[in-house]
Symmetry: C2
Subunit: 351 residues, 2 copies
């Protein structure tokens, strides 16, 4: 176990660490004393029917969900809903490579799948909060992967689902993109097969990883429209060197790789012997499928193909040249569209 001050209450709190006991893992092994970092907003009502679950994406924590998506007057309004943001395993706040117990630290961290996260979250929600259903599960990117997993695995628990900029079964193209992210890091001699001393030892790899995110994370239209300049950077190069590299530089490389491995293998069809249509056919939640128009690796086409397999679902693309990383909240129009869709979804009666 190493320390990394990036993952603390100062930068990412307030959050509560909840011990959910031993989590058996789909790929073998277990996380004893698995801890989920949880941030809640609002109050659970007496009927316990106003709970919303928000899982997190690659590299993100509960903090960005709080800052960008939750607030009074927003769709995710703490005045109306009890909003539970659960940090995914491996993200640095919950049990992760950099903070894991004896024998499981760093590169020895066991393989964790999306399904493991969702079972861990289910245990948390039922045992700690006494929930029997969720008014909504909503997440972006890997949060969308968890959202789909929730809706397929626990169809009676999830009343509404909103999958933003993510898929139920990861594509091979997307798998390959994540491979390039992993390799950008692991090819750094300073990575030392995961046994580096600090993230700074892997700075070159983390910078390459940031560059790849810049190429694929936004869109060609975003840069053509000089949106990076509107954000305060005079060139794409300074945007990469300052914003993108600065964002990833303090993160723990093994944490990122654990999440990337999980992301690559997100696949609800595992519940139906590889039959995606059968798996998605289990969903009973009222589901909105919400890709971002200019997303280069969870493109609308991939998402719409899945949407057509979900009974009663609706295709609600978000128009934004920000691309995938519009998730960061840099495009107010994307957030306005999202809020409108989520408000409509939350107002939709469900059985």
């Amino acid at each position: 176990m190493s320390t990394n001050s990036y993952y603390g209450q100062d930068g990412h709190g307030p959050f509560e660490l909840c011990d959910i006991g031993t989590l058996e893992l789909e790929d073998g092994g277990a996380l004893p004393g698995c801890q989920l970092a949880v941030a809640t907003h609002g109050t659970l009502n007496a009927a316990k029917d106003n709970a919303i679950l928000v899982p997190t994406w690659y590299s993100g924590t509960s903090k960005i969900m709080e800052q960008v998506y939750i607030g009074n007057g927003r769709a995710l309004d703490p005045a109306k809903y009890f909003i539970i943001v659960v940090n995914q395993i491996g993200n640095g706040l919950s049990t992760s490579p950099h903070n894991a117990g004896a024998g499981q630290g760093g590169p020895d961290f066991p393989k964790v799948r999306i399904g493991d996260d969702v079972r861990a979250q289910h245990r948390l929600l039922t045992e700690k909060f006494g929930l029997e259903s969720l008014a909504l599960v909503v997440g972006g990117s890997m949060g969308a992967q968890q959202t789909y997993e929730w809706a397929v695995r626990y169809p009676d628990f999830v009343r509404r689902a909103a999958a933003i900029a993510g898929t139920a079964r990861n594509t091979e193209h997307d798998f390959l993109f994540a491979d390039t992210l992993i390799e950008a890091i692991t090819s750094d001699p300073g990575f030392r097969a995961g046994r580096y001393a600090t993230s700074a030892d892997v700075a070159a790899g983390l910078k390459r990883h940031a560059r790849l995110w810049t190429v694929m994370g936004w869109s060609t239209d975003f840069f053509r429209a000089d949106r990076h300049k509107a954000l305060g950077f005079d060139s794409v190069q300074s945007f990469v060197d300052t914003f993108m590299t600065g964002y990833f530089a303090p993160m723990d490389p093994n944490n990122l790789i654990a999440m990337a491995w999980k992301w690559q293998r997100g696949d609800v069809s595992r519940h139906a012997g590889g039959d995606l249509a059968a798996a998605l056919g289990r969903i009973r939640a009222k589901t909105y499928v919400m890709p971002i128009s200019h997303d280069m690796f969870f493109p609308p086409g991939d998402c719409e193909a899945e949407q057509r397999l979900i009974r009663g679902s609706e295709f609600r693309p978000l128009k934004s040249i920000a691309g995938h990383l519009g998730l960061f909240g840099v495009d107010p129009e994307l957030l306005a569209q999202l809020d409108a869709h989520l408000s409509e979804l939350l107002a939709t009666p469900v059985g």
Copy 2:
């Protein structure tokens, strides 16, 4: 100077090596005894008005232009036209890092720009072939960069121009993508700052480079439609490991880096103090701008923005989910569209 059997007449011939003398370079220095590898098809007519110039793209040689684009009954028909395919400097057939003379080999190869290639080609065409004009310059990707450079630099020489899947001024996004390609190679410890013994020493870097090309070179729609399976690969992974990795593996890393450096800096606005509109305003050729619909790094939007700055030009996008590497000729429908446009362009009377 090292040897690399990949770049021979066996795989890429027939081509002729033409010595154009000393080529002074825009960024300083010179290539003494600069050799251009040239392949011609058809016969120059007496009026010398049926010549077509075809420059090459990143990693490509005259061979793929011959195999995919030139033929009887095609738009580029050797029965009608005298078609001159000139291999770009650095591509391994013309003067390149791997075959350069004393003091210029490998990482000591001087910086070569698109403008250097075009001046070299102009010297070749005027001195060797006695040409005073070209019926058409047509190229894809870096070939499009050279096409634009020709039309801006020698406006009276170029009567028609067709820029496929490329831009007149490279975008910052595209620059960054090329950066990731370069870094994929240079980050390999076997690269040894360009002083490796053989390409095999840099196999890991070349494989990462191939993966990046797979992520950005085709399109998400291409893989969703299982086009890689239609090409004979049962998964994206085998497509990468066999086809894409196999394609790049024998190439010389310093050659690739010389081309990537050149690609990054393609910019006709250098002729007008950075004013792109003024530079493109110099073009007198009848110009077709032909991006490929699903191109992820020379996207139609970037190309159309430039097309609007070229007097009398036409925007003729090619619809293909193959994306940028549709240039390889894997999509017959793309080739059919291209031939139709080029035939129309060639049939258009020009002043």
